[in-house]
Amino acid sequence: MDAEEMAIEVGANQDAVILEMRGISKHFPGVQALANVDFQVRAGEIHALVGENGAGKSTLMKILSGAIQGDVGEILIDDQSVSIHSPQDARSLGIGIVYQEFSLVPALTVGENISLGWFPHRAGFVDRGATEREARARLEELGVEIDTSARASTLSVAQQQLVEIAKVLAMRPRLLVLDEPSAVLGGTDLERLFAVLTRLRDRGISIIYISHRLDEVFRLADRVTVMRDGKVVDTLPVSQLDHAGLVRRMVGRDLEGALVDHHGEPGEDLLQIDHVCRDGVLEPVTLRVRRGEIVGLAGLRGAGRTELARCIFGADPRSGGTVTVGGRVVPPGSPGEAIRSGIGFVTEDRKTEGLILNLSVRENVTLAGLRQLARFSFIQRRAEHRRVRALADQLQVRAASPSVAAGTLSGGNQQKVVLAKWLHTDAQVLILDEPTRGIDVGAKREIYRLMREIADRGAAVLMISSELPEVIGVCDRILVMHEGSMVGELPVGATEEQIMTLATGGAL
């Protein structure tokens, strides 16, 4: 069926539901990712799907795309029950998915990428002319001009995004799913994407648009479905909502109250960040963290929090600004210098950056401060064993022995090993990036308690977290970032609504 024909058909029944997902549940060990989710998409609408990290949006879309299967529930297309067991099934049902991670082959041309998998061919040879004609037609549909003979590797990110969409459109989908397409786009590119999406909708294609940027939802979408904790909270027309109303639906859960005591008066400024920036990802940021203080750094994914932390620690180079610890300047671009200056960094990804999984717990704990335990480069074994045992006791690391590989520990205990590493270097400034991600509730409490202990001993703690109850419950002060800039500061007692409003680009 070609696009025009489809448009006419759609025009005939404007509110026809083309996709219905009914009673979908999905359980992962330890987590109910989706609980009895109902979700409908009408023909020719842009339907925004929003929710906090972990709300279940991506799981739902993975089920729709056939990447995973739901435990229970039914999917109907045009009121017909269908089974989707693989991405091929989804494709043949007219569902096209544009993933967050691009799947273009860098060495192939735009044309070849668009027709990858079903090259027009003649006598076994790829028909270049036909390939490019086809690709040009798809790109024209999108109203964009990209040289179809250019290699994908030479394209800008925005162009890659558009080619990715063209590639999916070449399969003639009736339903297009975009998972945070705007995460990599800015300004004019975003405008162009919106224009394209609007045009596709007007042609009768339904679009599911997952986004963290609420302003986009209001600009683009016809209806919005809000998910929270694996459930659908609400589906309603965007016109019946305002920013605050949407935020309330996204976060509206009971506050858990303070997770640790906020006690003690913080001391003097210890960590001073002045105008630290990194071209393209981080606007100049200035902040202070005092001794004895836990400061939260809230914001959406991609707001620049991790980038800021990595610049402070020297994991990434910075384009400007200064970092000082207790008045001493920390040279940029070298984790070694940062560590010597008393900074410790608990990375977001424990398994690939925080720990060396096949090395022992002992070797991981002492790695960053091995010199303190060495005489003439020889590691003093007995001193090392003593030190590690003391730290493991203090943090109550549950491991068969300090000699077991760090990778054999549970998430919570792995994180304690990371903390032990920075206790060993006697870090005065501790930066933690999503320190409780992937950790069960009990271990989370322990991590919070340890953070407070470390702060009480006079350290300055800066915690990045996307879990708002955690930020509110643990931190003495909350900084909020949005699109690479620091946009606000909130005191103890801030609400989730206040944080989300700032984090989504709103004003208090």
């Binding site: 987590v31 950056e353 998430g411 950790i439």
Partner: protein, 333 residues
Amino acid sequence: MNAPRLGIASSVDTPRVGGIRGVLGGTGGALQKAGIGLALIVLILLASVMSPYFLQAGNLLNVARQVSIIGIVAVGMTFVILTGGIDLSVGSILGLVAVVAAQQLQNGVGALLVVAIALLLGTALGLANGLGITIGGIPPFIMTLGMLVMARGAALTYAEGQPVSLGDAKERFSWLGRGDIAGIPVPVFIFAIVAVVGIVVLRFTTFGRYIYAIGSNREAARLAGVKVRAYTAFVYVISGFLAGLTALIWISRLTVGEPTAGTGIELDAIAVVVIGGTSLFGGEGGIGGTVIGAMIVGVLANVLNLLGVSPFTQQIVTGALIVLAVLLGRIRR
């Protein structure tokens, strides 16, 4: 997003399972080492049964001498492979150092000075590899492949394609390759010293710990403040230095520096390291395994020789051994 939730799912607190796996994980390396040690013992037993000559002192010393040349190179290779790298240039560095040292000896330069020149030249070429890889960002395979071709070309150019005789120095430079200490060949002593120093460095020093950290997870090591580039470069320096040392033994033994000396020794060394249980991906293994690996290869070649198996067939056996060693290592894991 839900990906992190999958993370939760896979890391739910299960200390007991962790404990069991921990025990297995902790002894996996030891098991592997015990495995190849056992293989060596079985091989020696078989050899002594199959050939009456095998256990004769003269033959054993011969095996040891042959093993030591490849073994010294393989110790350097172990350092490199533990970081996740590879050094294809050791054979060519050996060849270049061999002709340069032989020419200097022929010119009448003092033996000690020649030793210094040779070691310095090997070290410098290793440093060039290391800097190309760390500062230049060239993959180790490519950088050392380039060096392999360049150094061999340099050796052939320098020697004009001809073997370089040691001339009158033949006798005064015989100790390294042909001498003995209390009946044990000097090359065997040198190999033993190199291996012991290597084992001590890897097991007991900060540098050794950093090597394993870098080979296991470069990024995590960097974020723990380890000077990844400096240490990575340094393993190639070690490898180059040991290739230079081997070149001296080589010319002393053969009394001539051939520009083709050491051709293909890099592959033998890699084979020995792999048979010894060191992972080509880095971070796992050690020099103890490499020493055993060198002995396995040496003993095998020797017994096949004694049994009159043709050198061509021997290659088939050695090749199969490499594949088998890695296969067994995988199965055990």
